[in-house]
Symmetry: C2
Subunit: 343 residues, 2 copies
């Protein structure tokens, strides 16, 4: 491994500089990505290991980030579960057979991940070969709540109304669904690790829609099932719960060696609440990348300052990078993180 800063930081070991990678770094703001994207639809890219590998490597080559993250979508495991997945022209997911009843839940299949998503595992093996130790590879999945929200709502949502209705009106159906989803996700992440992922991140993108009490009752046990199940797999596990900074203590209870935080909370306060026995990842507002370089640099310094020189900080955005972000600003960000954090 030529660059192990990311993995060291995950384990809270001393590093020469703070490692940085960006959520959705393999993505639409890069011309070289769009060149491929214009030829293939999104799902085809996900399902073709050579294409997935190519766009996974682009940001490593272009930006100098300290980790690669698999190009994939959190909803890829749905097809193996018997749930139809399509992406509309604007790339928003559409599920034509949303899960609403006990019978719908019974019909969900639990396959082995190599059988359900062989192309993901093949992509990981290919990426590892092509990376050849230049940077570690992060695998990922959605978290049970986030996956449930898509499956129940039939796509993206603003309100999660059907999701909450099921939780509160039919908790036994909710529990049965969450059990199945958790099992699928645990198998999916284990398979990614077996295929070569050197760290994994679980994205709970939409759990910020819940109150702390509801999170604790209806979600935490399932997130914990997945995260606990990964102990002993030998790779660091990152748990990112978006818009959940007012219930960080519960997020930590669910697990994760590294806790991801969005930009709605100061990093020093977040880390204090998380506890210094975990590493932390974050937390720049992704839209900061539209600011002038000097302001980006100031904001980078501020976050590094809040992290102190305590080992265990991985610099990242507080959410996925915006699709129109200027690439030169992203490069400036990566350089700024490396420069200002050098010990």
């Amino acid at each position: 491994m030529q660059n192990d800063h990311f993995l060291k930081a995950c384990r809270r070991e001393e590093v020469e500089y703070t490692p940085v990678w960006l959520m959705r770094q393999a993505g639409r703001y890069m011309p070289e990505y769009m060149e491929i994207r214009n030829k293939y639809d999104f799902l085809t890219m996900c399902k073709t290991p050579e294409l997935a590998a190519e766009v996974t490597l682009q940001p490593v080559n272009r930006l100098g980030v300290d980790a690669a993250i698999l190009f994939a979508d959190i909803l890829l495991p749905l097809e193996g579960m018997g749930i139809d997945l399509a992406f509309a022209k604007n790339e928003g997911p559409v599920i034509s057979n949303p899960v609403r009843t006990g019978e719908d839940v019974e019909n969900i299949r639990i396959l082995d991940a190599e059988e359900a998503t062989p192309y993901v595992m093949e992509a990981i093996r290919l990426i590892r070969r092509e990376l050849d130790g230049r940077a570690p590879l992060i695998g990922f999945s959605g978290a049970p709540f986030t996956i449930a929200s898509y499956i129940i709502e039939g796509g993206g949502s603003m309100e999660y109304k059907n999701c909450k209705k099921m939780m509160w009106q039919a908790p036994e159906i909710w529990d049965a669904l969450m059990e199945k989803i958790s099992e699928v996700l645990l198998r999916y992440l284990k398979a990614q690790i077996k295929a070569g992922a050197q760290a994994v991140q679980m994205f709970d993108s939409w759990v910020g829609a819940l109150s702390p009490d509801d999170y604790e009752t209806y979600v935490l046990p399932y997130s914990k099932y997945v995260l606990s199940g990964l102990k002993g797999e030998g790779v660091p596990v990152i748990h990112f719960a978006n818009n959940a900074s007012s219930m960080l203590e519960l997020v930590v209870q669910a697990g994760g060696d590294v806790i991801g935080v969005d930009w709605r909370i100061n990093l020093d306060e977040a880390w204090k609440r998380i506890g210094y026995d975990r590493a932390i990842q974050g937390n720049l507002d992704p839209f900061t990348l539209y600011a002038p370089p000097q302001l980006i640099a100031e904001k980078v310094k501020r976050i590094l300052q809040m992290a102190g020189n305590r080992p265990g900080h991985i610099f990242n955005l507080g959410h996925g990078i915006n699709k129109e972000t200027p690439v030169e600003n992203v490069i400036a960000l990566v350089e700024a993180v490396h420069e200002y954090s050098r010990r």
Copy 2:
């Protein structure tokens, strides 16, 4: 005043039971509201004092809530500023001349509120006469950031990209805009109080898009200008910043006799951080109203428990009521709050 529980709670005085009202209570979930709404478009309803008065009183009559809130829209002051406001068929606001440049900001007018929005003041006078002391009337406005976000983005937004771009790329234009908006909002709220509003609420609906640092630099001074300017007007001021529970301390710094909190934080923790020298309003997830009555009752009890018997809690939802909420559940909620909180 026959029912002054709400005003007493705002002043942290002892009450017989916890008062309750609901954000967007004058609204689309009520058949009697829809009967009027089907005859008139939304802006016509806002601009016709008799109609605004009628729908303002509906929830007081039907639900037994402890306060009325003026039927209006936070964007009504825009027209007087020279900004075009229309509502698309789904009721989403559309601004055809969004503010993006220094010249756009210069062109913004600051009128007196009686001149810009006479119908709002007339509605308040009419509602006060019709309420005849049965419940106090709350007036309201948007907060500077939230209003700026609509004006800059040209409508609702998910990302606030143009807003953030202006803040960071052209802070002098941002400041000039926020100064003008703050002045308009202060005059608007003062005029509402003069017309008869017995309390006012400032809604910062979208400020949760910002980091604490950006809130402090670009927003707090303007929210503070409005809220400080209302001191001495003799009515309680409620400050509700949605999705801002990780920066409550800054929200408190901006001001308000009562701090509104959404459902993403436990009320006891929120109040502790706010300080017991302020009253608190909240904080039930609006979608809880889709839960079975027994679960609604449990969640009400839990919030009342977290408030303790400390004077100064006003029960409310953590955000506006959903338009398809069953009215019988809303009635059950109001009854549950009164019943379980009776001293």
